[in-house]
């Protein structure tokens, strides 16, 4: 006689239930099976006959077990009563379901429980201390009444809750017991279980819990607290729940994981997981080491699944993850840098930056002619084309794709008022973006160009307007990007410090201090150029205060070398 009795609640996959019942029985454990009332009579009869050869398997009165309702508790009660009455040697009763699978040899469970004769293994926590709240109900599971099924009639269920909340209808706990909740799969000692079942006030408790929501997770969990001398608040059954509170299912490919879990029993097993049933029910070499149960190893994998379902991978936009604006959990997948005005002001900014950091430095990705990828490539990671038309079809997707496709390598790119501006808000609201702008630097290429002055004036006016709008975006209170803005005049006063700051923030720099600096273009005559624009009635203000004389002073020097920042 083993001292451990198994109560099995069964509703589908009866063939598997039979297999497991035989396994328990073979190890000497008496089994009481409760079959859901929903199972047709004939199927039930066949099931009973199929187990007819086992003397220590009994069947209890059938109740209808609908999720979240009293039936499951009633079934556990009557099956437990039958167990305690029919098998006086039973010291612990283990509540299991038809889709539970014993992982370790049953003898180990028997020995484990025999060494802890008075301990009750039942997860039992007060309502305020646990985050499991399906449908936003925790405390109210007990204080409200739930006469309709949540699964079948969600609408009525919600209305009932609403009405009771509005009128402040509340129930009191009988005898002031403190409500506890926990996994419905427990293992109780005969002493505790019989105390619960034979309590003179049981009718009062039953009447109360009949209208509690999901009583199978609270009835025994609450009442065990009244009688148990030693509660271990954990379940011996490995059972993982997803974000909707429904159990994760184990399949054949979980075999190694389950072997390493060291748990006595796992649920729930997919009925067609032949390899699992074979490995744990018939294969003696599948026996595991004698260690304290520790489901921690499996935790991670299922916690990750919940995380993926609720938060997802930042910066990923795909067929089954398409977050509404501002609900992205991260607009892009990784930090990146956007530079505006730098490649205009410095001759060799891009190669210099590539040399100074480990980042990939692109040119103007959003230029009107094409996407200027690093090293002049025609396509980039993820087979992204450099075609401007394809890019502009969805510029935001272009950027988020690019950052997603190049995860693991920091991306830097140049930007300017002549480029496609569709991404401005996306970048401004993206905490991954590091934006550095030298305002007004777009004037430098114009200054050095060979265009007609009328054309230059027209372009300058347009670019200034676009950049000004962009700066408004970057200065908006909704901005989340790391934004630095200098006017051109301000920047060329002391370029070292900002450059060092930018490199530090990119991190992963190859050099601790700036040894080599980028070469600034020859600005000889730039002040006069701006003055000419002003004289034409177009006032360039974004570059800051540029005295017209600056250029004149420089002409005095004989060297025609472009000037170097030191």
């Amino acid at each position: 006689m083993s001292g451990v009795g198994i109560v099995m609640l069964v509703h589908t996959a009866l063939a598997r239930a039979e297999q497991v019942a035989r396994h328990w029985s073979a190890a000497g454990c008496p089994v009481v099976i409760h079959v859901d009332k929903g199972v047709p009579r004939r199927t039930y009869d066949t099931f009973v006959t199929s187990l007819g050869d086992l003397p220590k398997v009994k069947f209890s009165n059938r109740y209808r077990c609908e999720w979240g309702t009293w039936g499951i508790v009633a079934a556990s009660q009557s099956a437990s009563e039958l167990m305690l009455a029919s098998f006086p040697d039973v010291r612990h009763v283990y509540l299991a379901s038809g889709s539970c699978l014993p992982l370790r040899p049953v003898e180990e469970l028997i020995a484990y429980l025999a060494a802890r004769p008075q301990t009750d293994f039942i997860e039992s926590a007060t309502t305020s201390d646990v985050p499991w709240t399906v449908g936003g109900l925790d405390e109210e599971r007990f204080t409200l009444r739930f006469p309709v099924s949540w699964k079948k009639n969600r609408y009525l269920f919600d209305r009932f809750v609403e009405v009771q909340r509005r009128f402040g209808l509340q129930r009191k706990m009988p005898n002031g017991v403190i409500p506890h909740m926990g996994s419905q799969w427990w293992c109780l000692s005969r002493r505790t279980l019989s105390a619960i079942l034979q309590d003179p006030e049981r009718r009062k408790y039953d009447r109360f819990f009949r209208h509690v929501w999901i009583p199978d997770e609270s009835y025994f969990q609450t009442l065990a607290r009244l009688y148990s001398s030693k509660i271990e608040s954990r379940s011996l059954t490995l059972s993982k729940f997803d974000f909707q509170g429904k159990p994760h299912i184990f399949y054949d490919d979980h075999l190694q994981l389950l072997r390493r879990s060291d748990c006595f029993v796992a649920r729930k097993i997919w009925p067609y997981a032949d390899r699992l049933y074979e490995a744990f029910l018939t294969d003696p070499s599948g026996a595991m080491k004698r260690t304290e149960p520790n489901p921690g190893k499996i935790d991670r994998i299922f916690a990750k699944a919940v995380e993926r379902r609720t938060r997802g991978r930042s910066g990923l936009y795909m067929q089954s993850r398409f977050p509404n604006e501002d609900w992205e959990n991260g607009v892009t997948a990784a930090p990146y840098s956007m530079f505006q005005g730098f490649s205009e002001l410095f001759e060799n900014f891009e190669p210099w930056l590539a040399k100074a950091t480990e980042a990939r430095v692109h040119g103007h990705l959003f230029a009107p002619d094409r996407a200027h990828y690093a090293e002049g490539q025609k396509t980039l990671n993820g087979a992204q084309s450099d075609s401007a038309i394809l890019r502009d079809y969805s510029a935001k997707a272009f950027l988020t794709n690019l950052i997603w496709n190049t995860r693991g390598e920091r991306q830097c790119f140049q930007f300017g008022p002549a480029d496609n501006q569709d991404i401005n808000w996306l970048v401004a609201k993206d905490p991954n973006a590091q934006v550095s702008v030298i305002t007004g630097a777009w004037a430098v290429p114009l200054f050095r160009s060979n265009l007609d002055f009328v054309e230059i004036r027209r372009l300058a006016a347009r670019l200034q307007q676009i950049e000004s709008k962009h700066m408004d975006v970057l200065r908006s209170p909704y901005r989340k990007a790391r934004v630095r803005i200098w006017s051109m005049a301000e920047f060329i006063e002391a370029p070292m410090e900002p450059l060092q700051g930018i490199l530090d923030e990119i991190g992963r720099t190859k050099l601790r201090r700036l040894a080599e600096v980028p070469q600034m273009v020859d600005l000889n005559g730039f002040g006069q150029f701006l003055q000419n624009l002003k004289n034409q009635g177009m006032h360039p203000y974004l570059m800051g205060d540029f005295p017209a004389e600056r250029g004149i002073a420089a002409t005095a020097k004989p060297a025609r070398k472009p000037y170097l920042v030191r």
Binding site: A305, R309, M318, F322
Partner: protein
């Protein structure tokens, strides 16, 4: 959504169903093995025309996955595929000589068959060149997925179309009947897709991939849609609206999460670009039975005659579903 719009969609759904009902007369029953179907069988629906060479692998692939019965509409084939299908023990075959285009590219025919036979079954609607890949498909049969979807109260499962292509000219390696087409067409584009939301039907509209990159670089808006919902727990009131891109009632199109999470999804490997493609494109161009006046086939014909090459330096070589999930083309969601 407003009541009026909701009602309009309802009318539209009814219209598609009535249309499917009318189009039933274009279907001629060839072999009816539907009495073999068991209550919990997963059903597959497909139309085909002259796909004899593809059929053996196609049927084998889905049989291995756990499909219980095939419903195939043969549109006027003359390559022996008709008699080949008749001999298959788990295929029920219909044939139609009517216009493919006017049956809305087979949708009306399949809607009718689904209305009649698929109620209460998980149904997979795919073309003979589409191969479903879902999370854990190398270790779990399709029934594991549908059981899980049932347990999670999910009625439809998304699988985006992923165009596969060979390295080099697409007509270089001949495809043999029974061969896994992904042995030849083993490359794909991993990260150049664009998505927008269709507010009327609430589905996502996905475009991109090699077809947008190579065939439609100047008119990306014309590039074919890649979003698909091929696996549905069918109800006789449902109807596909346009290919398997979208359904009514439109709640079935909500296969994506809008609050940052990921729902489970798969991929349909699209092995269209094999050596058979050139002939097919020429034929389809002549028949002019395809979507938007076969604009797609025109673009292909034009582009492929000079340089039939889709491969580029950043093409990704297909390994398995885990690779697709890491690349972000599909997701395990909360299935673990």
């Amino acid at each position: 959504m407003g009541i009026i719009q909701s009602y309009r969609l309802r009318l539209q759904r009814k219209r598609w169903r009535i249309r499917a009902f009318r189009k039933r007369r274009e279907l001629k029953r060839v072999v009816d093995r539907t009495s073999q179907i068991r209550d919990d069988d997963i059903l597959l629906f497909s139309t085909q025309r002259n796909e004899r060479i593809r059929l053996p692998y196609f049927l084998e692939y889905y049989r291995d996955m756990g499909v219980g019965h095939f419903f195939i509409v043969d549109n006027d084939s003359d390559d022996g595929s008709h008699s080949y299908l008749i001999d298959q023990p788990d295929v029920s075959l219909w044939s139609s000589q009517a216009s493919y285009r006017r049956s809305r590219f087979g949708v009306d025919w399949l809607n009718w068959l689904q209305m009649k036979y698929a109620h209460g079954h998980w149904t997979l609607t795919v073309d003979p060149d589409e191969f479903l890949v879902y999370p854990f498909c190398d270790t779990r049969p399709l029934r594991a997925l549908t059981d899980w979807l049932d347990a999670s109260s999910i009625k439809s499962f998304s699988a985006m179309l992923l165009d596969m292509y060979p390295k080099g000219r697409i007509d270089e390696q001949p495809y043999r009947a029974g061969q896994n087409p992904m042995e030849i067409a083993s490359w794909f584009d991993s990260g150049n897709y664009t998505i927008s939301r269709n507010h009327k039907f609430t589905n996502l509209w996905i475009q991109g991939g090699p077809r947008a990159r190579v065939f439609f670089p100047d008119t990306p808006e014309k590039a074919p849609a890649l979003n698909k919902v091929p696996l549905v727990k069918w109800d006789k009131r449902y109807a596909y609206v346009s290919s398997t891109h979208m359904l009514l009632p439109r709640g079935l199109n909500q296969v994506y999460d809008e609050w940052g999470g990921e729902k489970a999804s798969g991929v349909l490997l699209h092995a269209k670009f094999l050596d058979t493609f050139g002939a097919k494109a020429a034929e389809e161009l002549e028949r002019n039975q395809h979507y938007a006046a076969s604009v797609e086939y025109k673009a292909y014909a034009e582009r492929l005659k000079d340089d039939p090459q889709l491969w580029c330096k950043w093409s990704e070589r297909y390994i398995n579903w885990r690779q697709l999930e890491i690349l972000g083309l599909m997701s395990k969601g909360n299935w673990a």
